[in-house]
Assembly symmetry: C2
Homo-oligomer: 199 residues x 2
């Protein structure tokens, strides 16, 4: 419908998550009217993320080096690992300032319906980290929904023979929701009230 | 909160219209996991639009040449000009296949509250196009809201001395809405039933 390059941009924007055809059109016209310097900066930011961001060798969080900022921080407590589904969950928990240990990012949750099993998550890497006996608590902070609970139960059973204390974030999080949408206070409370997972 | 380049992308995305902080984050993580080729294509599409798209010298529509596709088309009727607010309105009207004349894109509507007066729109250019006496009908297809109606009334009064028939799209368009959101049938009906504007 539009001149080639404009339609092309609308199509490309429409492939992004949560951007429908009308939003894509609105953003494309915004780009058309925007300062070229701003557009160049956005294009650059897109390319730089692909170029410079990797996943941390240790925990699976986003990182610009081999290891992420948190894994490189010597002041963090090596005895506690908090397991989350996604890097954005790390950010949500960091925002509460309740937790000073390390993280482990699974890269998702067990979901048979989406064809995601334990082997598709960074569970082998987690077990390797637990092998040296330095960790005495594993906090399972997967999302409080069906997949997150299943993943937490699976991990709790897997880790049980190692004799490590396994905890789960307290209720307080709205059930059926996504961890990343919780406000700081709710998420902080959930951290305080985490309970022993007995399976 | 995130590694510099990732936060940077989230910030840049958050500046786009209709993209809040959560959407920006979601898109940024989508980019992080996307095929580098796709991301390069999106970045390229952004830059190409700025580089190659201008506004048509004659009608103000988007164009890759000096003149847009419609102004360059010899089969269009030179005796009718349809005045719209934005280039996306041209696309909406083209989709109805009801109109075979030319367009004039104002670049907005009169809106004192936003500080947009007649001098901020391409009205002088419109009057220049009407000067040669070739046009015998001017269809005012500005949005059926307050600003669009005000702009139509202003233009009708301005054009009256030239003795050109001035029409306005028929009701059928939901009042208070935006022209671009009308479905093809409604917009087509509105074209058929356009009425003489007597001021």
């Amino acid at each position: 419908m539009y001149e080639g390059v404009l339609q092309n941009l609308i199509d490309e924007l429409g492939r992004l998550p949560g951007i429908g055809p009308k939003s894509a059109q609105r953003i494309a016209f915004h780009i058309l009217g925007a300062d070229p310097v701003d557009v160049k900066r956005l294009a650059q930011a897109l390319l730089e993320v692909k170029e410079k961001i990797h996943f941390c060798r240790i925990c699976g969080n986003v990182a610009t080096e081999d290891e992420c900022l948190i894994c490189r921080d010597p002041r963090r407590d090596d005895q506690v690992i908090c397991v989350v589904e996604e890097p954005k969950d790390v950010v949500a928990i960091e925002r509460t300032r309740e937790f000073r240990g390390r993280y482990h990012v699974l890269g998702g949750a067990i979901s048979p319906i989406d064809g995601i099993g334990p082997d598709d998550l960074r569970i082998r890497e987690l077990m390797a980290r637990l092998a040296d006996g330095q960790v005495n608590e594993l906090i399972l902070a997967t999302d409080p929904n069906l997949e997150g609970e299943a993943t937490a139960t699976y991990l709790a059973r897997l880790v049980k023979p190692l004799g490590i204390k396994v905890t789960r974030l307290a209720s307080g999080l709205p059930v059926g929701g996504d961890l990343e949408y919780a406000d700081e206070v709710t998420l902080g409370r959930a951290f305080e009230g985490r309970r022993l997972l007995d399976v």
